[in-house]
Symmetry: C2
Subunit: 366 residues, 2 copies
């Protein structure tokens, strides 16, 4: 690791080592992109069957609360990044004491708590659904009155793939909500009748350069991402607006790396509303591996290592489909399809709903 | 590993483990392609700083003569392949006793000895330069009389990147040749005044399917590959002839995996002459990573695992350039070039002439 350039920016040259907190498929694909650029990866994950271990130079099997292991890990690498937003604040602090943490702890703090996130977004001038915090029945009652029904109650922390989210349509739903939140801090959000859900994935470098990938349109099934399509069905002005919003968020966070912003679009009113942010590479960006000039994984490595950002331009029309559970057993179908790029994450048990792989189709000449 | 299909072909499903003899950049890139399809890789190499260790699930540091380590290695994987042709016959035998070896030992036997190779090629009906074996001065004299000057003396074994090759123009060169061969079996070959050198890379599956990549045209500098360009400057009939020759060789060897055949082309006479074969993925095939629908590395994995072969079609005009020694320090130039795909092999010392990485340019819309 050394410093160079007029702004005294940090550059980690190819040959250096990237530490990754988390050993899932996102860490696995970051490690693969890092390797192409000559970086070694060191994965830190408590699960001894982590798929990312299969493609990394080194791994540490230890808990995120294990201070000693974290210190050894942090000291063995040139920069640490993460593949999931629920990295404990304490873990991030320990790492940051011994090496670079990119993106920084601030991005984690904002993304881990739906209330902090909503406050931050609105303070940054970015529109979200109306929201109110609640813990007690009384607070929830007030919140419902303010926001109206239908609305969605969510736990403030540790939500993903729709977990910890409950729709409130009738008063009868309230008991169920309070049973689930069980006195933990929660948030009530207005229900947005959106026409489409989009992902805006941007990379930001230490020097403040921002590169936005073309906006992807997502379809979820049972709250899990099913497909992402490029380009999204959007008016050019709306796509531009969405990119400006994501860029504003990245700048406000003084972000370094890939940032994903999920948004809802209401066609009739041209509204673009931020649903949530993920301070990491994202499932809805897998299409970039073959579909963009630079993949989100390579772009993330470039950003956190201080290399110039690559082009985010799409090579054509692209479609990405997740392979969940036993979908993965159909691999031969995809291997026989000359337009398909098949990815298998190396997980052995195809449990229902588990992300086992994905397929990307690139239609270059359309 | 299990058997399926009418022909009782061996299929190693994604999730299985591929053993790779050799830990250089070729093994590294095989491991990376294998990972995308869900395979784990186990690299076997005596050099503890092998670049392939950085991208593999597991590695064994041991000599190729270490029978015990080889046995443990072979038993831990579903199939073994290799990234260099000088795998000792004994090593191949030990591996093959405990697991599948693909390509087989026969391909190694043929490729390791220039005399055996030339005999095999001519027996298969494929044209080579005129040649004669020699060991003594008397045999060399007779060979020169038969073949004529200029001609090229080569050691029969362990040649690569021009090592062990000596041009004989005048009688005065003979002493030097005999000093170098020093009584070891050697071969004298007629010197071909070729217009271009090409690589024909084919994949062959256990079922006998063959897929040939578009022919690449190579430029060497100081006997080391400098660039490969796709398409080669060839008449269509000559390109077709070259592919037929490579396919014939693959069939004659009952080959499984990627086979590379280097050929010389004489434009005026339309002659296509085989120079040598390499029973492995090849530097002249690196362009396929971004430039072909399926890369040579993925194709090799598909072939040795019994998956259907992918499409070898090129995506456009492609150019690959090796980065030797300190060329690698110019990485920023390539990262800034939006048409360039930069590859760094993770080797730390940029020694002169050492293959440190490569760059591929794909011009899709030409």
């Amino acid at each position: 690791m050394n410093k160079m350039g007029a702004q005294n920016l940090t550059v980690i040259k190819p040959g250096g080592t990237i530490g990754i907190l988390g050993g899932g498929q996102l860490g696995r694909m970051i490690a693969m992109a890092a390797a192409r650029l000559g970086y070694k990866s060191h994965i830190y994950c408590p699960d001894r069957r982590s798929p990312a271990f299969q493609t990394a130079h080194q791994f540490t099997i230890a808990e995120y609360e294990d201070e000693e292991s974290l210190e050894v890990f942090a000291k063995s690498v040139d920069v640490v990044t993460y593949e999931f937003e629920n990295v404990p604040a304490q873990t991030a602090d320990i790492v940051a004491r011994h090496t670079l943490l990119r993106p920084g702890a601030n991005a984690l703090k904002v993304a881990q708590d739906r209330l902090v996130e909503k406050d931050f977004l609105n303070d940054s001038g970015v529109k979200t659904a109306p929201y109110a915090a609640f813990t007690t029945r009384e607070e929830l009652d007030v919140a419902i009155k303010t926001i109206g029904r239908p609305c969605v109650a969510k736990t403030r922390r540790f939500g993903y793939d729709g977990k910890g989210q409950m729709m409130i349509k009738a008063r009868a739903d309230i008991d169920n909500v309070l049973e689930v939140t069980a006195g933990a801090p929660a948030i009530l959000e207005g229900f947005i009748k959106f026409d489409r859900e989009i992902s805006v994935i941007v990379a930001r470098s230490e020097s403040g350069d921002v590169a936005a990938f073309p906006v992807g349109e997502n379809v979820h099934t049972d709250h899990i991402l099913d497909t992402t399509k490029i380009p999204a069905t959007l008016k050019p002005a709306i796509e531009a607006k969405a990119k400006v919003m994501a860029t504003r968020i990245a700048n406000a966070l003084e972000y370094i790396g890939i940032l994903t912003v999920e948004m809802f679009v209401v066609d009739a009113t041209n509204e673009v509303i931020v649903n949530e942010i993920a301070p990491r590479v994202h499932n809805s960006g897998h299409w970039t591996i073959e579909g963009a000039v630079t993949s989100q994984f390579e772009q993330h490595v470039r950003a956190i290592c201080g290399l110039p950002l690559g082009s985010p331009v799409a090579k054509g029309r692209v479609e990405m489909k997740n392979l969940l559970g036993e979908d993965i057993l159909e691999y031969e179908k995809y291997l026989l399809d000359e337009t398909a790029h098949f990815h298998h994450y190396g997980k052995l048990e195809p449990r229902k709903g588990r992300k086992m792989g994905h397929v990307t189709w690139v239609f270059e000449n359309e």
